[in-house]
């Protein structure tokens, strides 16, 4: 379903699904890491805030992986879009019309997902501890 020569609804949503998983990994890693490194997650008792280097490394790896998968989606969608040799607005009642439409929409969603993944990775650059 995901890797397919024919575009379908699953290929359409693969990229945003990757975004969602990436988001979840980033959030869960950072939150669980901060919660578990502090003696009591609900009360600040230490003298300084624990830093989150480990979580940042995980987030960096997840980001590279996510962008890689989205790039693969993009390549496949590009193939779908180009295979039919049809142009917008993709309203032909044919396989090519459908393929072109799904391919092009997938490309757009890949673009949005790339922006989304980068946005979600930015906090790890600017914030270095659990404060």
């Amino acid at each position: 379903m995901i890797a397919s020569t024919r575009a379908n609804l699953v290929t359409l949503i693969t990229a945003p699904t990757v975004w969602a998983l990436h988001f979840l990994v980033c959030y869960v890693t950072a939150s669980a890491y901060c919660a578990k490194t502090m003696a009591d997650a609900r009360v600040f008792t230490g003298t300084s805030w624990p830093d989150i280097t480990v979580a940042r490394a995980v987030i960096a790896a997840a980001t590279v992986l996510a962008l890689g998968i989205i790039a693969l989606c993009l390549r496949q969608a590009w193939g779908h879009w180009r295979s039919g040799d049809v142009d917008p607005p993709f309203d032909e009642p044919s396989f090519e019309g459908r393929q072109g439409f799904l391919g092009f929409s997938t490309i757009l969603l890949c673009g949005l997902s790339i922006i989304g993944v980068i946005f979600v990775a930015l906090p790890a650059i600017f914030i270095g501890d659990c404060r």
Partner: protein
Amino acid sequence: MSVAVYATRSSSGGLDERLAKRFILWGGVAFPTVVLTALLIYGLRLMPVLRASGEGLTIAVAGEQFWWRVTYQPKDGPPVRSANEVRVPVGERVAFALTSPDVIHSFWNPSLGGKVDMIPGRENRLVLKAEKAGVYRGVCAEFCGASHALMAFPVIAMEKPDFDAWLSGQSRPAAEAAETAQGKTLFLQNGCGACHAVAGTEARGEVGPDLTRFGERATIGAGTLPNEPEQIARFIRETDTVKPRVKMPAYPALPREDLLAIAGYLGSLK
């Protein structure tokens, strides 16, 4: 918006598709992305700065229905109890340890900084710094029950030497005066001391606000009424009307002169 109105007014229907596509791409995607990226980076860089640590003094504040329990925890020296009013030195980053024993409240002083919730079972941190001496009004920002609207606190920013002097003066008991002795007796007789504390007297209750420096405060009932004898009397007589669902019972049976005597005593506590 004006583009949209123009669009409907122009009867020519002229814009060709190519141009329209570019309009979507640049106006709808490229421009917002650039602006949002810049905004996001700005916001992210600001966050750690706003959550820098304090510089020594920590003030524990507990939000309770519907007042504020304040405990100063200076680095050296014993803790100092107070209520419904916070004093801070100018120019110093003061850390607040925020808790709640009952429901969620939110500690917010708009002029000094953002708000932080006080959540049962958790202790949250907030650091505030007053740049100028003055009185800044704060309120409870999270809905906490019937009298959520009647839960304010002033933050009084004092010059550092004044503040230090004030804080060290807090360990002495409240002033006593002969003319308020009857009020004191009535205060104790009616059992007020079961819930309220006045340092140096038998009143050692910890359920309600500490009244040791009551006379210094500008308002009563956490910003509900001005601190005047008549208003104090009213607050004691019809507590629930003035401040719905407050825990303190009303004393409608107390004669007016007794109420005023108690009010006089409380007002003299400085």
